[in-house]
Amino acid sequence: METLTIGTKTLALDADGNLANVNDWTEDVARELAVQEGIPTLTPQHWTVINFMRQVFTKEGDAPSIRRLTKESGVDTKTLYQLFPKGPAKKAARIAGLPKPKGCI
């Protein structure tokens, strides 16, 4: 199984390369995963998206769709794709320490 090393800690990853355990997530983990995804610095807007995704996941057990992200997080679709150019839902979920989203939209 693949792992992610943050400082002295080694965290388990799932088959998609996302954190295996949602509770392993810290802001440092997010920064490291973001670098892996080609995002060198997380801006306040990135954090808005990340925190919103974690909030929805905690409540509902799945990450929100792009449509919901757009409608409820306050970050519009265009900006979302600028923040996470290689696919916002999937990449943001990974950085937020969540499993890959299940939905199609």
Binding site: D76, K78, Y81, G87, P88, A89, K90, G103, C104, I105
Partner: protein, 155 residues
């Protein structure tokens, strides 16, 4: 992944609700995965980007075996409207937006959208008939140029 898909060009050729959505969902899904996507609307598929029609598309209840409805029943007045409203309700539940909103969302996601030159000429359509997301009216030849290096999906 050596063979990951990097680019898709999706042709939408049908104008019923069930004819339009698969192409839109695939285009949106491509962008969500970071795949470059282009939509090309042709024949009745153009209804999806015609302002007056895009939010009035209906499910076909006649000549649609997937409906499991005898043809004569499907032809009853109101049947198509009923099936359409049922389908729209179910789609809203799983967060699929109405056509107009979906087109805006997919375009904002960076998917280019084109109308087919031959269809535009055939139906005497004007630039003003289209929603603002349409990036241009292009010929089949131009479509192939834009599709170069990627996969073409016909729906």
């Amino acid at each position: 992944m050596a063979d990951a898909i990097e680019k898709v060009s999706i042709v939408v050729s049908r104008g019923s609700l069930d004819g339009v959505y698969p192409g839109l969902i695939m285009a949106n899904g491509a962008r969500m995965e970071g795949i470059e996507a282009t939509l090309f609307f042709t024949f009745f598929g153009l209804d999806a980007v015609i302002k007056k029609r895009m939010n009035e598309l209906k499910v076909a209840t006649v000549g649609n075996p997937g409906m499991h409805l005898p043809t004569l029943l499907g032809a009853l007045p109101g049947m198509s409207a009923f099936a359409t409203s049922m389908m729209k309700k179910e789609m809203e539940k799983i967060d699929i937006p109405p056509v107009g909103e979906f087109i805006t969302m997919i375009h904002d996601a960076g998917c280019e959208m084109y109308a087919c030159r031959a269809t535009v000429d055939m139906f005497h359509l004007k630039p003003d008939d289209f929603c603002p997301e349409v990036d241009g009216v292009i010929s089949v030849g131009q479509f192939y140029e834009k599709a170069a290096g990627g996969q073409i999906i016909f729906t």
